[in-house]
């Protein structure tokens, strides 16, 4: 059963949910953001308005276009308001039980044709789908952070996902103006599967005294042309986030490179989480970075 998608539901109004909602509304879809927390919905709405104000300032959109987009973008704290959606993308906390509880409720609310998608970056699509009540109509759609700026979407079918459902989600992804890539339902998909161990390896170089953080980043940028060094990137992402994703990836792969190096826990204990605390592998003051 292929689906002509007109109305999009986003469950979860955190950073990822809000970003995906921007993409959907900007592409012309009626978009409903659902969250149980009204304050989270209000915060996301404010951030979204700020994002589009910047888009107007930079002449990427006209005020009339933004009015149309914001008119198509609504939010709700009642799950029943998602009943008219053709696809619902969940972007809630990375916890299987939380996702299963949400999807179970959605399964009661949404019509049979509605596709369910998960923006998970670390959990198995098949395992999430198993608790959705419609595992044949369930796909993985992993958007990259910041979703509203990044084109890439990793798309994964679960073991029981039907070809039609996957194709409908794939077509929808293209209609969003995104670039889908197909990956198997594997821990970390492609991006995190490679990035998390790579960043851990960079931390291990610091840990074992091979080189200073600034030298490692300089080498990677000058030698390979990467836009950011791994340690600079880790400071942006946050060491606490690296610990979470590394632990999740290691739990499902048992790959020693995925295991978070002990230095990360020591840095977190010291409050050196990265940019957000003003100190990570480098020291920050406003936008300036020291130690580079």
């Amino acid at each position: 059963m292929s689906v002509a998608i007109k109305t999009v539901g986003i469950a979860g109004s955190g950073t990822m949910g809000a970003g995906i909602a921007i993409i959907a509304a900007r592409a012309g879809f009626k978009t409903i953001v659902y969250d149980t927390r009204q304050e989270a919905l209000d915060r996301a709405r404010k951030q979204t308005a700020g994002f589009f104000a910047k888009s107007v300032e930079r002449k990427k959109l006209t005020p009339a276009q933004v009015d149309r987009i914001m008119g198509d973008l609504t939010s709700t704290s009642r799950i029943s308001d998602l009943a008219g959606c053709d696809i619902v993308i969940e972007a809630v906390f990375e916890d299987l039980k939380i996702k299963h509880d949400l999807l179970g409720e959605l399964n009661q609310v949404c019509p049979q044709h509605t596709l369910f998608a998960s923006n998970t970056s670390t959990l198995s699509i098949t395992e999430i789908a198993a608790g959705s009540g419609r595992d044949e109509r369930f796909v993985g759609m992993h958007f990259c952070l910041p979703a509203q700026l990044m084109k890439l979407v990793e798309m994964s079918p679960g073991i029981r996902t039907s070809d039609d459902a996957f194709q409908s989600a794939w077509d929808f992804c293209k209609a969003l103006g995104q670039t889908p890539v197909k990956t198997r339902d594997n821990p970390g998909f492609i991006l995190n599967y490679f990035l998390v161990p790579f960043n851990n390896d960079a931390i291990r170089l610091v840990e074992s005294g091979v080189a200073e953080p600034a030298a490692i980043d300089r080498a990677i940028k000058a030698g390979l042309g990467y836009p950011l060094g791994p340690l600079e990137l880790l400071d942006m992402v946050g060491l606490d986030t690296q610990l979470l994703v590394a632990e999740a990836l290691y739990a499902s792969t048992r790959d020693p490179r995925a295991a978070c190096p002990p230095l990360v826990k020591r840095m977190i204990a010291a409050g050196h989480l990265g940019r957000k605390t003003g100190q990570g592998f480098f020291r920050y003051s406003g936008n300036a970075m020291f130690g580079g």
Binding site: C144, M150, K151, L152, E154, T179, V181, K182, T183, R184, N186, I190, L191, Y193, F194, L195, P197, F198, D201, A202, L205, S208, G209, V210, A211, E212, A215, I216, R218, A219, I220, A222, G223, L224, G225, Y226, P227, L228, P230, P256, R257
Partner: protein, 215 residues
């Protein structure tokens, strides 16, 4: 600062003329030995202790193989270096400058100065096999080749994901095909021997490429 280059032939860092090689003098306070016979040339170098610095081009070996090691207290005016490049690709602008724990700071500063003056970027590191980049990227390249074998995604999708998702200029599969899978085998085999870590063990596709090269 004047430097002299002793070129033993077959340098991977400077396979063609470069501002660094053009800037060499006949008799400098710094001696740079490049090429595939660095060890022999260094052995013949008289009075190297009196030089500001002696810079030895390294392959996969450690600087300690030439400069010696003792109780973690080693260090002198001898440094190692390599200009990073992947296989058959053009060498990059990066010099990995290898020091020992007690390397003289004046020698280190002099080495940095002559490379900087030639427009090269310097990253200082300790004397470990693989230095910085090879030690970081080779396990990643191996993982990409293994996952391609396991059909995680197509080669194009793997490359597209890593380019779009992380801003890398080139995906790992295209990059290894362009620069040579057999060269990847050589580097990873050396690192695997040095560390015994399975992450460095050459991936199947690199082994195959090496076998084909030998035929």
């Amino acid at each position: 600062m004047a430097y002299t280059i002793i070129d033993t032939g077959g340098s991977r860092s400077f396979p063609a003329e470069h501002a660094f090689t053009r800037g060499a003098a006949r008799d400098g306070e710094i001696v740079v030995i490049i090429g595939s016979a660095v060890g022999a040339a260094f052995g013949r170098l008289a009075g190297h202790q009196s030089k500001q610095a002696v810079l030895l081009e390294l392959g996969t070996e450690c600087l300690g193989a030439y400069a010696g090691e003792s109780r973690g207290e080693e260090g002198s005016n001898i440094l190692g270096f390599a200009r990073f490049g992947l296989g058959n690709g053009e060498p990059s602008n990066l010099i990995e400058l290898v020091r020992q724990p007690r390397t003289r700071e004046t020698a280190l500063a002099a080495a940095q100065q002559v490379f900087d003056a030639a427009g090269l970027q310097v990253a200082v590191c300790g004397d470990f096999a693989g230095r910085i980049i090879d030690r970081l990227v080779r396990p990643y390249y191996n993982a990409a080749l293994r996952r391609l074998d396991e059909a995680l995604a197509s080669a194009d999708d793997l490359d597209t994901t890593l380019k779009l998702g992380l801003g890398y200029p080139e995906g790992p599969i295209a990059l290894l095909e362009r620069t040579g899978l057999a060269h990847h085998y050589d580097v990873t085999q050396a690192l695997f021997e040095a560390y015994g870590d399975p992450a460095f063990a050459p991936a199947r596709r690199a082994r195959v490429a090496k076998q084909r090269q030998k035929r």
